[in-house]
Amino acid sequence: MVMGDLLTFTDRGIWCAAGDFHIDPWRPVARALLTHGHSDHARPGMGRYLCTDIAAPVVRHRLGAISLDTVVYGEARRIGDVTVSFHPAGHVPGSAQIKVEHRGEVWVASGDYKTVDDGLSTAFEPVGCHAFITESTFGLPVFRWPDDATLAAALNSWWAGNAAAGRVSLLGAYALGKAQRLLRLIDPAIGPVLTHGAIEATNGVLRAQGIALPATQRVTSETRPRDHPGALVLATPSALGGPWARRFSTEGAPAATAYASGWMALRGVRRRRAAERGFVISDHADWDGLTGAIQATGAERVFVTHGYTAVFARWLQSQGYDARPVATAYEGESLDAAEPGGPAEPGA
């Protein structure tokens, strides 16, 4: 019997014919395996779901009453004719690369990933395979992330400087992953930390599953900035640009704003945001992270999804890979995302 590809790309998502399931589908299917809970990868309307035990609470929080089964990292599951297992992707807590094996042929769909250990998510582990599906959100050699120690120093001196000047520090970050990562980088001794509702909801879910985070207070309609001098306010990027953020500015002491995103590596994007600071931090791999991860898989075939797909695939071809770009509905890191109430957070 002549076999087709183990995983193929359909208008619904990444499909495994031999196992009759989809990975991160964007249209309704009977059985969905999820790499992680960001809304461009985890969508409502699937018959049943499978994700890691660590990712499950956020997925439940966002998708509500669904039929959800969980696995632990490394656990092998037989589905149809294939064996699947979930391996750490280092993107957000519980995020996974999904390994699919069939008669000795191994494919890995990596969802979103980063290779540096953020101390929050289970650290990325390379998984050997024949074919690898990679993202390419930051798949250009201009993207290179600073290390966490450099970031923490910059972040804390910015916050401390604002606090000393009597200004509130407003920091824009995604509700799932980025916000919690920032919470672990900041020095809570500098001042109180307030959070936007969407972020605090995610904090609550993660704390309940045993992930340690510093104390935070949710911003409500009663929150008055003068009750929290020198506070750091974590908000979703879309809230930062809107009326929600205005309450933190007073005459003579406008709030200092900053964004935390990989896009902050580009001066033009920083300027467009008119933020006083841009912290270059992403839960997606940078150029070295992407190229290093792909090399470590030993894969011959590489499928490039969301991001600079065409350019990155061409680079991989020049390095001897059988690589091609693939169109999907995943969105990558966005600074312009509206974020109505958290669960509908567009891709991160």
Partner: protein, 526 residues
């Protein structure tokens, strides 16, 4: 350079004037004097000239990063800035240095004396010891492309605050023909008796756009003139020598040699504010004719005959050696009139005529007939102020020309809008064909650009590098200030200042303009 890089970041990342001034004041108080001087020079556009070709820098950077050129180019297309692309793709530095801004500029200025191999070695060495913003600024200085979003007025304010001098004094000190190589911070800014520089112009007074005629109050208090469409200039005659300055503080004397004869007729100690216009037989020539002369340092005889210029005088700032800017407009204008009356009519100097203020709207509507951009309204009692001050001078531009057209290509923006499709090519209809006639990249909100970006992604027909061909479907109203025949363009026309006035989602494709209609606009307004 660390201090200068920090200053640049502060200027770059805030739009708040107060924050910019505060950052500059800190720097101008704390930096070494030599660095202060270079900071002032760079912030007023006195940047070192380019010493290495951009293509060489690109090649060396790609080589250092071990990346193919096509990947460099793809990255450049997204980043939108050569210096930034190089700064980002180079490997991290292997060591740190703490050289001053002045030091780095000295290194750059020494490069032309070296052969290419030594030049390359010096630059690679510098790259390997600089990081982030410092590396970016070093490359900007290398390519002669340093720019900063700080106005002359803002720098003046900061210097005034840092040194305790009146802003007007600082503004005068900063104008004119000084160079950082041949002066010092003390001589330029703080010495009590600066050398009287005979060529030094006054700061230009700039106008604000008028929103509504009602803002003027009683029209009798106002003088109306055309807003001429040429090059604003200040003509200075002192000590028997004349100078012509542009608003951008560029000396244009040699570009317009025909104005030299005015020195024979005007008294010494005369400074006139006016507009340089290409002019023949009592009327302005199209702006395109003047444009031929702008880029040239000297003018061939043929061009002098084809596009002769005149100075259309607006105002008199210095009279018989006295600064008369504090006198009211009416008084200055009367003196100007007297001066011009002594100059023969054939000389390249005329007085910008006053228009009746009884029907300003009608006067504005007539401006296009004399190729003016609209009206200038000046309060009769007002002094001549420095810089952009609201209230006494207004410009009231004629409504732009417009045409409905369809987008046929879209290109990703760069820099501020790297993630959006913002640069569009527009076409008019010619039978069944669509003929491209202009590009435009401004005029829409970020939200609209976002919507169109989604549409472009979903409807791409073909890619040509960073350009995408899309089906003719999205209709836009294009506004522009002028139109000229252009054999280089397929449509045969070139527009001046085209921009998107609005996205006409209400307009069907069948209603866009035709090539014939475009040609008719050219016939009427070209």
């Amino acid at each position: 350079m660390k201090g200068f890089a920090a200053l640049y970041s502060r200027m770059d990342q805030t739009t708040r004037t107060g924050a910019k001034v505060a950052g500059l004041v800190d720097y101008l108080r704390e930096a070494p004097e030599a660095d202060r001087l270079w900071c002032i020079a760079l912030f007023t556009g006195r940047r070192p000239r380019r010493v290495v070709q951009a293509a060489l820098l690109r090649d060396w950077a790609a080589e250092q990063a071990a990346l193919p050129l096509w990947l460099f180019e793809e990255s450049y297309a997204i980043v939108g800035d050569l210096a930034e692309t190089i700064a980002l793709i180079l490997p991290p530095p292997s060591r740190a240095t703490d050289r001053s801004l002045t030091d780095w500029i000295a290194l750059i200025r020494a490069l032309p004396a070296l052969d290419e191999a030594a030049r390359k070695a010096a630059i690679l060495d510098a790259w390997d010891s600089l990081e982030g913003m410092e590396r970016f600024l070093f490359i900007k200085l290398l390519t002669g492309g340093f720019r900063v979003g700080v106005s002359a007025g803002l720098l003046t304010r900061a210097l005034a605050e840092a040194t305790g001098q009146p802003a007007a004094t600082i503004a005068l000190r900063l104008m004119g023909n000084w160079a950082p190589e041949s002066t010092t911070y003390a001589r330029l800014i703080t010495d009590p008796a600066p050398q009287a520089d005979l060529s030094r112009p006054y700061p230009f007074y700039l106008c604000h756009p008028l929103e509504s005629e009602a803002d003027l109050g009683d029209p009798a208090g106002w003088a109306a003139e055309y807003k001429w469409d040429g090059i604003r200039g200040q003509f200075i005659l002192r000590g028997g020598t004349h100078h012509l300055w542009s608003r951008g503080e560029e000396l244009m004397t040699d570009r317009f040699p025909e104005l030299a004869v005015l020195a024979d007729w005007l008294p010494d100690g005369t400074v006139i504010d006016g507009e340089v216009l290409a002019w023949a037989e009592g009327a302005p020539l199209p702006f395109a004719r003047l444009q031929q002369r702008i880029g040239r340092k000297s003018v061939p005889r043929r061009l002098l005959a084809e596009a002769p210029v005149t100075l259309m005088a607006y105002d008199l700032l210095e009279h018989c050696g006295h600064d008369i800017r504090a006198q009211p407009y009416d008084a200055r204008r009367a003196l100007l009139q007297d001066l011009i009356d002594t100059v023969p009519p054939a000389a390249p100097l005329r007085l910008s005529p006053l228009l009746p203020t009884t029907d300003l709207a009608a006067a504005r509507a007539g401006a296009r007939e004399v190729q003016a951009e609209g009206l200038m309204l000046k309060r009769r009692a007002s002094p001549y102020l420095a810089g952009r001050k609201k209230g006494d001078w207004w410009k009231w531009k004629v409504a732009p020309l417009t045409i409905d057209a369809v987008m046929i290509y879209a290109q990703q923006g760069h820099g501020r809008r790297a993630t959006l499709f913002t640069d569009y090519t527009f076409a008019v209809r010619d039978g069944d064909a669509y003929v491209p006639f202009t590009k435009a990249y401004s005029g829409l909100t970020d939200a609209e650009f976002g919507q169109i970006t989604k549409w472009v992604r979903a409807n791409t027909l073909q890619r040509f590098g960073p350009m995408r061909q899309v089906p003719p479907a999205q209709v836009f109203e294009i506004a522009f200030e002028g139109i000229a025949a252009s054999p280089r363009h397929k449509s045969g026309v070139a527009l001046r200042f085209p921009r998107m006035l609005r996205w006409r989602q209400d307009k069907p494709l069948a209603e866009i303009a035709t090539l014939d209609e475009l040609r008719e606009i050219l016939r009427l307004h070209g």
